[in-house]
Structure formats: structure tokens, C-alpha cells
Symmetry: D2
Subunit: 435 residues, 4 copies
């Protein structure tokens, strides 16, 4: 967890305090169920809730006990017994440490997912707002980094909106993957604990019972979870790189918002660097990298080994905290992005008329010229624009072979920008359900 | 593509012949729509279907043209015009190469997914059959590779069944991710082609129209697809490693089927090596590795660059062919796995009665002994079993502190194996919907 | 292995024919040593060389035998006995399959390394030639994609030269890592074979004896090897992305060589796309991805398991063939790169004089203005250039606070481009040992 | 940074305090060189050392300034000017932030490497001590997890020693990779600073001057560094997994040291779990994962972008701190590993005499029986041991075809364990230079 790339709500989910509070809730809910089943006294369950619910768990004290016992759950239970008194002996009956640890981890991931889903909603809102704002702002579309044909800036943002809508759907599915609870005992057989306890705890904690656990909740679920975050990070990278390209000195079609007090560089004060989107590029690499150890965690030995645990101490907090921060930063970036339509138009016209070459090519084909000849005609005029700075339309008008094929009025019509944007409403309707 | 790790049906999807056939279908369906819209003559569309549909595309000839033009789609179209004649000029109107390439790639991935889904069904069937066969075969559960408490072999397979059921659900979702079609032109604006052409081709090819494409279908879809395969591979690795553990000389609770003519080693004829599951472990690593470049493919520049293309030439075939082979091999392995219940029981009893220590611990706590004392009592007797090979029950019966807390009959009851399997039916019902 | 990303010399290393030839050489050299030690008759060794050396191994026949025995080395030895006759019984004595397989794999990797080293030499030569050609070609340096201060194009290539010099040094070290031979028997104890046989074979095959093998040559060596290729691929990616940036329509300071017959796009004939460097970007991702399974291969169980084998069937050929192709393609790209100094100068002057702001800042500080004030003075004039298109020098000359601090002549001197290139010779001398 | 997987010396390297101290030293050494060159007054350099050297940098104050300026180096320099007074204006002249940041990062990595090298020395010492202690402790070698032929436990440790010796050599090379210093200004041209300043600072900080930097020290160096750590981590994983296998209940040839107060599980007191080696397995996955974003950091845009920075804030500390902790833990684990020779012998004899089958096979071949027949004879007797629990020697003695080929005394000699260990001294001499 890197403080500068962290936000407090997500950090709080991963605090020791939160963890022990969740552990307590799992244990106390289990006591309720055990009491209901007559395994332990109802008064014990009541006492546990009463005393534990009011208590603040002393992290330092638990650390102290763990230093001796070398076992975190035992340390917690020992501390709990200090708070609850003799009734504490009814806690954790028939359970195994992983019941608490795994269910807690999933509760944390579910809560983290809820924050991330809210983050995505905020990002989607920003993207939608700016997309509609620039629905008709014409800009050059680029393939291979080379000018192709006109698009609108709104379309770029609509694509991002569609992509992050998919991200949201994936995250909802990933949240579902890890929203399970296991209270099934030492090897998952419920030998010492009734499956109804698991059902009760699951429901109380907002989870589903894991259909079959071993000692642990199977880690293919978590692999899928972190892989999903990695794919979302890759989409963040894509949008960040788009902004970085647009802010290049030679392109300058958009800029990250520049706070008045901000200094771009210690030596070159004129520079406005896309540092947020560069930062997002790096953060995306990190979130992506966490998918790997999560996948390597799947193949635990037999009913479980503990090799996944250390991995999850890193990636549980780091992946969710970093992604939360990144989504927040990206939302702010999009929300305040400085967008320069004039410069877009200037860039689009850099090669006079050449963006319309595709239309001319089609016009020639439709006029009956064969594909190869059409291509040759367009190419020879295009090359004069490219190499000599000529105007494409002028060149075409002076090319007798072209003019023999297409009437002048029709040729001129091929240079209408509106032609390219006529289906923007259709696309917006597809993406946003409105246009 | 490694021939020894390939099966013909999946390989066929990725052949040049299949690719050109799909390209043709995309182009010809587009022609139908264009003809319906009055953009090209209906007779042209009919001719294209008639001549192209009957033709065998000459891969060598297309390679030859590509060597000159350095553009694969142009090479194909040129060859197509050799087959179709002058009507070929109506093909590909308003389209861009990526319309054909990306839609084709998705068709291939969809077909590959269908094979993989059938593979998963076969694996699930094998797992279910063997799970029910060994529903009540008691074996020791192990955590950390150390004996814990009894489970049944059927439970192990039920867990695998549940895990691969999740794999199937994930793959269905992943198939949905990439089942899209884009026929949207040079930068995705439909400037030169009506969106209805895309709708028509999508439907004809069993896909959905991509809501907003740039020049390409966005690669977050494919990243999610390959990440999903990677997670499935991780589950294959898990089950393979389980088998490898079970076949260890000292464990020997199960063995891969050993064909009569097979030689395990050039020098040690007695060895029966778990070579299939070891092989599956390696193949899983490969499928997992392909997720990474797929994620790095997401951040294409602006409306597209071509950097994803080379990556997909590797991972498209390699990931699906390898996973298909691995699933098939795993299915055969499970189907014919030699399972040794006697050895399982022998291993379970290796430390006489120690597997029941948890029950004794609980009994002590429930009898009113506090947690710390109960733990101490169990531990001191357990250590004599561990270190001196004593029998756990005998030791407990001779421990006055224990006997003061628990009546003998109750203590003896704690050593009943049936106690551990009483909820197997419940778990099977959860997993299979029957027990 | 993707044919279009493959070159014949590297492909040949990984053919079945080459593999069996190397297997034969390993076995035959071992026979020489065994004969020398009196373990087998010298006449047998001579016969083996004579008949085996002259033979062409029949790959199809070996496949046929393997289909029955399911063991590749036994299949080969059976085929060899068909060629050599009864003397073949002296072959492979005291050896294990891995002795042959692992030593062969390392021979193949060594040969692959030699090709890759030659590739790097060719790339370095191209970089050096172009670096000196453009040693003094001034171009704008960019940080964050934003104009910073002038550099020369030769410096960019010098950096690449230095980077690929490091790549070469790393590859030499990586080659050393895997240039080992193991002929140590079933578990590496030389129980059935004298260590002198290993020494002999190692020397004959251009390798060193592995100091301690288990059954296999330890895979940390190969992990390091493939990790090194991955780092080299990352450097290829860097240089490729540099070219892609330079070829952007708005930048256009360099272009990949454009073959006369080449068509950039099926629809936009004017486009010259940096398809080679985009392709190299994708290939780099693939080579990078192969490092992971190589690292996961390290932790083989006990004296070995076979899980690494399938991985190496993919990555052995794919990593080396792809990297060889990529290095060759990059060399050609650099060699023929079209470089446009005029455009570089035009871009450099896009913001009139602003590239000199750092010098002005320093001049102010050195003139006794404190850091904060100097910064403020530079910034307010720079902003007028940025926002209003003014000329930086003109603005400064009109700013009384600036002029109060710096004499005009000195200020004008700060706008000399030569100032920035004065140490180019020093850097070239560091990198190339000459300037 | 996870506190429980951290050791203080390594953590200290990455503290803010250390970072600012290194920044100060870089700036102050640069001032010395600038003073020597006459660019700034010698008295200024002296004052800077005097006041800055005595000062404690106030991290909170710097954070406060950074919150306003959004630039860490400027924040530090501002704070430094608060400490040093007006002479502070001579600090950082002609330098760029990356000069400080990159050189500092490399200093930190060099110091981290020195700790890691000491860690490796300690591990190597432990491995060597235990290797010699068990040089002659016979144990069964296993391939595929299946009993093969005898080795000694010392050989296993010798292999680990050789592997970590390679790790050390690789780390020395990786340390060399990143032991460079850049003080080259905004785009690496030394436009505003004399190259001799860089030479001076490099020497003073124990580094070499970077031959050619852009604005940054090229990141292929760091990619190689973190890739090297990843390979070392993979070797840790290998040794950890070996221990986990040996501690399995059914194998139990070695155990992690079990501290008296340690509780293995909250419910099963008899369990001694290999939790340290499982933990090391997980930590290895993490260190391995950090190689990827380091490689993705290589392709910075043009003379630099800042995307690498956030990545390095994670992986710089996390990779080195985790690896330091892991090496320390592994050293303790090896140092105190409980090793059970009796159990090793018991396991070796599990299949009576079968480990000698290879020798019998060879004896038959050498006695003139052809390979196929020898194999068949060994196999039919081996199968009776395997399936019926017979004794291999007894079976062979009763097999007339075998006895017709080999005299009884010679056959009995083939069952001598010493045969397998006769070259242990040779291998130890190769690995340790002594035996």
C-alpha cells in the first residue's frame, strides 16, 4: 500500500481494526446459529455479542499474543476471551481458522468491489457527460498513429464508456465469484459443525454458502477476481495512453487540467506534462501484475496449504486500493480534461483534403473503375499532397482520368465532413440508450 | 501449435482454409446486405455466393499475392476476384480490413469456445461419475500436506466438479465477450457503410453487432477471454497436482492408468510415473502465460494500431488448441484413474487415532475444560503418538485428567470415522443437485 | 512457431532432424568415452560413429516407434539399433533419458544464442552507422511526450546502441548459463556412469559439465536464459515505440522504409503505417511472456518431474525464433529508416524559442535572482508564447524585470542551439569509444 | 511493504529519511564538483555540506510543500533552502529532477543488493554446513515423485548450494547493471552541466557514470535487475517445495524446526505444518510477479515519461524487502531443519530392493542379453515386488532366465547401496571445491 496512491475508504477495509471486527462478526453470527441449534447456550451467544460488540479490539495486544503463539486466529480468540470472559469458550466451536480467514477475506473483497463499482459509476458518468458534450466535435481518427478518417471526440469517449460498462459488468460477475462464505471445519466436511451454521453466517454477512470447500474457499474464485481487476486496469491504461497521445506537443488536442500552483518541471516552466495519465499507465501495470500470483495460488495442495496467504496479504489490499485510486484519478482527469476542438480541426486539415481519399476511392469504384485502377488514381494524387503539400481536391480536379470518371459536383460532395458523422447518433443510441 | 499437444477439430478452426472461408462468408453476407440496401446489384451478391461458395481458396496463390502487396486482405480479395470475375468489384465496399479480420477472429474464438465447452462437459461428466463412485471412500484430508481429518475421495472430486462448473460458467461469459461483429469501416463511423450491413453480417455469423468499434473490436474483450482461459488452466493445474501427489510412491492412493506397452523409463522398469498430470501442469503454465500479452494488447493507440495482430497469431491458436488438448487429456486421466481405497485407509491410520484429536479437543471443551487446558491435554497425548508410535485412544484412556473430564464410552465414540462423512450427502446435493 | 515470424537458420535448430542428430552425437561421444574407459569395446564405438554418422534418421519411423513405446528416447534408440545393428546395445549405457534430452536442449539453446548474438551485432552495426550519420542532426528532446530541450537524432540512436550493447552482454552471460552438459544417470549420482564420460561429452559438444545435476540440469539456468530474452525484447519494444512515435502524422520525423509496391491500407492509399515497428511491439510482448512459464519451471519436484518439458517444447523454439526474427526486422528497419531533419527542426521551433527557457532560468539564477523569482519570471513570459503564440525572446526583451537582471547580448546568446550539442562528442566517445 | 515480511535494515533503505539523505548527498557532491569547476562559489558548497549535513530533513514539512507544488524534488529543494539559507540557490544548478531521483533509486538498489548478497552468503553457509553434515546420509532419489535410485541428502543440499551460488553470481551482475549515476540534465545532453559533475558524483556515491542517459537512466537496467530477483525467487520456491514434500506426513524425512510455544492449528494440536516453506512459496510468487511491470517500464516514450515511477514505488521496496525476508527465513529454515535419516532409509526400502533394478538391467545387458530381453526380465520380477510385495532379490534369484545370465554373487553385489554414493566426493569437490 503506497499512501500517495491510496484513498481512505478503501484503506479502511484492509485495516487490522476492520479485519478483527469482521472476524468477530463471523464468530458471533456462528454462535447465534450454534445457540439456535442448541449446541451452545443462547445466553453465551448474547454475552458474546454484547461484550464483543461494544469492545474495541486491541491490535497491539493481539500482536503480542501472536508473537508467542505464532497463530493469528488463536491470538484473536485469546484476546476475545479477555474481553468476553468465560463465555468465550463457546466461540469458534467446530470451526477452523480458515473458516474465519477466508470468509473475512471475501467480505473485504466484496466491500472493496462495492467501492470499485461506485468508482466505475462515477467514471461512467464523467465519460457520458463529456461524450455528449463533444458528440459532434470532429477530430481526425487515427490508425497506426496515422491520420485516417474523421471521427468525433464524443465517439472516442463513447468507446471508453462502452469499455468501462463492460468493466462494470465484469466486476459485478467477479464480485459474485468471491461473495461466498465457508464455515465447514478442518477439511470442509462439517464434521464438527452443522452446515446450517454456514448458511446462517453467509446470510448474515451478505454472502452465499460455498457449495463445497476443502479447508479453504477454492482460489480459482480469487484468481478470476484479480484477473478481472487486471483487465479493468488494462482499460485504464488504454484511456490514459489516449490522453497522453492527445497531449503530445505536436498534437495538443487535449490536456490534463493544470492547477494554477502546479509546477511541471523544476527547470522547464512551460511544460504541461500529462503526469496523471502517465501515472495511471504505471498503476495499471501494477494492478495487472497482481493477476499472476493470484493464478499461481489456485493449485493449493490437497485440502489446502498456506502459500496463498502471503500473496493475498500483498495483492488483496494493493490491487483494490490501487485500482480504486486509479479509477478516482481517471474520473477526475476525464471530468476536467481540457479539450481543444480548434486544434483538432487544425490537425485534421494538416494534409489538405487527404482524409477524404477513401470516399474518392469508393466513388471511382462505384463509377465503374476497377479496384486496381481506382486505387492507382487515388494514390498518385494523394502522393502529391503528401510530398508536395498540394491540395487533394485541386489535384483531383486537374486529373483528367479522375474527372472522366466522376462529375465535378459529385467529387466536391466527397469532401463534406458531415458525411462521416451521420451515424454518430446511431452509435450513441447503441452505447448510451439515447443520443 | 505443438502437434503432440493438438487435436484435429480445434486445429482445423485455425487453418488458413478455414480463415479464408470465414472471410468469404463475411464478405458475401455483407454483399447480401449491401444488395438489399440497393448499394450493389443483387445479381452481384448472387454471383459472389455462387462462385465463391463453390470455390476452394488457393492458399499458396494468396500467399504469392501477399508477398507482393504485403497486405493479407487485399491478397485475398485479389484472389477472390480471380474466382468471381468482374462482380468482385462489389465486394468489400465501404469496409476496412479489420472488419474482416476482427470479425473472423471472433468467429474462430466462438467456435473454439464451443469445443472447449464440450470439453468441459465431458470432464464434468467424468468427474461426476467418479465422484459418485467414490462418494463414501474414506481418505485422509490433508492441510499443509499433513494429515488433518478424514474426507472422502468423492468429496475431492466433487470439489473439482464444482470448480470446473465455475470454469464452464466463466467460459460461457467469455464466449459472450468475444461473440461480436464489426463492419463499421475505416475508423468505426460507418461513414461508407450502413450500420444495417453490420447487423446483417452479425446475425448471419451468429454474433452480435459491436456497439461501438473504432477500426477494431476493442481488445479488452479478448483480454478477458484469454484471462478466463488462464484461470481455467490454473484449475487444471490444481487437479493435476492433486493426482501427482496421490501417485507419489509414499502415498500411492491413486495412479494414472498404465497402458500395457508403456515404458516408464529407459532404465527403471518398475516406475509408473504420473506423466500425464505432469504434462498438464506444464501445459497449464503455457495457457496461463498467454493472458499477459492479451492484456498488453488492450491499449492500442487511438482508433487502432496493429501490435495486437502478431500476438494473436500466437495466442489465438496456441491457447485454445492447448487448452482443448489439456481438457481432453484430463478427462481421460480422471475417467481411467486407478483409485486405491485400501491404501487410503492404510495411510489414514498411519498415526494411530491421531486424526481424531480435533473431536477429543471439542469434547473436552464441551465438558467444561477451558480452551487452553483442553489444548494442553490433547497435545501431550498426541505427542506420544507422534514421537513414540503409541495409540492415541490408549494414551487418552490412560490420562487421568482426560478421563476425569470425559466418560470412556463418549471418548471411544469420538473415534468413529462415520462421524466425518455424515454431511457428504448434503455437500453432494449442493454440488450435483443430487446425492 | 509462426512461419511469417521465422527465419530458416533458427528454425533449423529446432527441427526433428537436428534434434536426432544432436542426440546421436551425444550418445556417440559418450560411447567414445566409455570405450576409452574400457566399459564397452572400442570397435563398438567406432561402428556406432561409422553407421550412425552416415545415416539419416527417419523421423517418421521414430514417431511410429514412439507411438507404441510412448517414450521418445527409447524410440530413437530402437531406431538407432535398426541402423547400427548389434553394437547398438552398447549405446546409452548407464545413462538416463534426461542426459540426452537436457544436453541436447542446451546445445540447441547455445546454437540459438550464437545466431542471436550475430543478430545483435548486425543491429549494433546499423545503429552505429545511423547514429554517426545523424550525430549532429538536431531534434527536440521530449519528456512526457512534451517538448523539452534539443538533442540530436544521433544521441537517440547512441542510447539504443548502448542499450543493445547491454543486451549483448546479457545474452553472452545467458548463453554461459545454459552451456552445460549432464551425463550423470538416473538421479545425478553417476552410479552407473563415470563422471569422465560427462567431461568428455561436454567438451566434445562445446559445453561445460554441470557441477551437480539431479536427473536434470537445473532449470534456474533456463529461467535466467528466457528472462534475459524477455528483457532484450523489452528493449526492442522501446525502440519500436520510438519509431512509431516519430512516424505519427503530426510528428513525422522519421518513417519506415516504404516499398514501392506496398499498400498501406485497402482503403486509404496515402497512409504509410509503421507496421514493422507495430509488429515488433507485439512480438516483444510474446517473447516477454515466455519468461513466466520458464520461471515456473524452476521448482521441479525432488530430483525432477517432467512438467517443464511441455513448456520448453513451446518456448524453446518460439522465444528464440521470434526474437531472431524481431532482431532481424529491427535491423532492417533501422538500416533503411527514412529520417527527416527538416521536419525535426520545424517541430523544434513549434513554440518559438520556448525550448530555451531552461537556459534563461539558469541565467537569471546565476545573475543573482532567487530561484522562486527566476521561475516566476520565466513562467510568465513562457505562458505568453504558449497561449498567444508570441516569440519567447521578444517577450523576454520586453520584460523589464528580466532585462534588469541580464544584459541583452547575454540573453540572446541563450538562444544558441549549438549550446545543447556541445557534449555530443563526449557521449559518443563514451558509447562507441570514438566520436 | 508488509511489516510481517520485512526486516529493519532493508526497510530503512526505503524510508523517506534515507531517500532525502541520499538526495542531499547527490546535490551536495554535485555542488562540490560545480565549485571545483568554478561554476558556483566553493564557500557555497561548503555551507551546503555544513548546514545540510547536520540537518534532519523534516519529512512532514516536505510533504506539506509538495502538496502545494505537486513536485517532490522542488519540495525537497525548497525545504533545503529553509535549512541552508541563500546559498541554497547554488544547489541543483543545471540538473533535472530525474538526475536526483534516478541516481538515488540506483543507490538504494545497490544498498539493497549488498544486503541481499549478504543474505545469500548466509544461506550458502547454512546450505554448505548441512550438506557436509549429511554428505553420506542415504535417501531415495525421486523422479516424477516416484522412487528412482539412491542419492544422499547432502547431494540435495549441494544442488541447492550450487543453485544459490549461481543466484549470487547473477545478483552481482544485476547489481552492476543498476550501479550507475546520471547527472546529465533535462534531456541527457549535459547542456547545462559539465559531464565532470556526473563523474564526480558517481564516484562519490559508489557508482559509475551512465554512458548515455536521456532524461532518465534507461530502464532495461532495472528490468534486468528485477528479472534477476524473480529468478532467485524461483530458486527459493524450489527449495521450499522440496522441504514441503519432505515434511508430508507420508514422507516425513525432514521437518521445519518446531518452536516449543508454537501451535500448528487451532484445532489439531498434533500437526506440524511446514508453514515457513509454504510462506516462502507464496513470497516467491510475489517477487516473481514484480519482474513484469519492470519489463513493461522499459519502453518509456522518447527521452522519458513518468509511467515507471509509480511502478517503482511499489516494486523497489516490495521486491527487495520481500526477497531479503525470504532469504533470511530460508536460511533459518535450512539452518535448523530437522533431518531424519532413519525415516529416509525406511522410505528407501519401501519396495524391497526395487531401487536396484537399474543395476540389474545393466548387468543383464553387459552379460550379453539384448536390451529388449533385459528390460523384459527386470520388468517381470519388478512387477511382483510392486504388486505382491515380494523381495526383488529373492525373485531374481528364483528366475532361471536371470540366473542363467548372471552369477549369484554378482547379482547380490548389485544390491549394495554404497555403489550409488561412490561419486559423492567428486560432486562435492565440483560444488564446494572440497569434499
Amino acid at each position: 500500500m503506497i499512501p500517495r496512491y491510496s484513498r481512505p475508504d478503501m484503506v479502511a477495509i484492509w485495516s487490522q481494526e476492520t479485519k478483527y471486527r469482521i472476524w468477530f462478526e463471523i464468530e458471533a453470527h456462528a454462535c447465534d446459529a450454534l445457540a439456535e441449534l442448541g449446541v451452545i447456550p443462547k445466553s453465551a451467544a448474547a454475552t458474546i455479542w454484547e461484550k464483543g460488540g461494544a469492545a474495541t479490539f486491541d491490535v497491539a495486544r493481539i500482536d503480542e499474543i501472536e508473537a508467542e503463539t505464532r497463530h493469528d486466529v488463536i491470538a484473536f480468540l485469546t484476546h476475545l476471551s479477555e474481553i468476553v470472559g468465560p463465555e468465550a469458550r463457546f466461540v469458534h466451536q467446530g470451526m477452523t481458522s480458515s473458516d474465519v480467514l477466508d470468509t473475512c477475506f471475501n467480505v473485504q473483497l466484496v466491500r472493496a468491489s462495492d467501492i470499485l463499482l461506485a468508482d466505475l459509476d462515477a467514471l461512467l458518468a464523467a465519460l457520458k457527460r463529456r461524450a455528449f458534450e463533444h458528440k459532434d466535435t470532429v477530430t481526425i481518427g487515427r490508425s497506426h498513429g496515422i491520420h485516417a478518417e474523421p471521427v468525433t471526440f464524443g465517439l472516442k469517449l463513447a468507446e471508453a464508456y462502452a469499455e468501462f460498462s463492460r468493466a462494470k459488468a465484469r466486476l459485478i460477475a467477479a464480485r459474485e465469484e468471491i461473495a461466498t462464505c465457508a464455515i465447514s471445519g478442518a477439511v470442509g466436511t462439517f464434521a464438527n459443525i452443522d452446515p446450517r451454521v454456514e448458511e446462517h453466517v453467509a446470510k448474515a454477512m451478505g454472502l452465499k454458502a460455498e457449495p463445497v470447500s476443502t479447508q479453504v474457499i477454492p482460489r480459482d474464485r480469487h484468481a478470476m477476481y484479480f484477473a478481472t481487476l487486471a483487465v479493468i486496469a488494462s482499460s485504464i491504461e488504454r484511456l490514459s495512453i489516449e490522453v497522453r497521445h492527445l497531449q503530445r506537443t505536436e498534437v495538443l488536442e487535449a490536456e490534463e487540467y493544470f492547477a494554477p500552483g502546479q509546477k511541471g518541471s523544476s527547470a522547464m516552466p512551460h511544460k504541461r506534462n500529462p503526469v496523471l495519465s502517465e501515472n495511471l499507465t504505471g498503476l495499471s501495470r501494477m494492478v495487472r501484475s497482481f493477476a499472476l500470483p493470484a493464478m499461481e495460488n489456485v493449485a493449493l495442495w490437497h485440502e489446502r496449504d498456506i502459500s496463498h496467504s502471503s500473496v493475498e496479504r500483498y495483492i488483496g489490499p494493493d490491487a483494490t486500493i490501487t485500482l480504486d485510486f486509479a479509477l478516482g484519478r481517471l474520473t477526475g482527469l476525464i471530468d476536467k480534461l481540457l479539450i481543444y476542438p480548434d486544434r483538432m480541426m487544425k490537425n485534421l486539415n494538416q494534409f489538405k483534403g487527404l482524409v477524404h481519399s477513401q470516399r474518392v476511392l469508393l466513388a471511382l469504384t462505384q463509377a465503374g473503375v476497377n479496384r486496381e485502377d481506382s486505387y492507382r488514381l487515388v494514390q498518385r494524387n494523394a502522393m502529391r499532397v503528401w510530398e508536395e503539400g498540394k491540395d487533394f481536391l485541386t489535384e483531383l480536379l486537374a486529373d483528367p482520368e479522375v474527372m472522366a470518371a466522376i462529375p465535378e459536383a459529385e467529387l466536391r460532395e466527397k469532401f463534406d465532413l458531415g458525411y462521416h458523422t451521420k451515424h454518430v447518433d446511431t452509435i450513441f443510441a447503441r452505447v448510451f440508450g439515447e443520443s
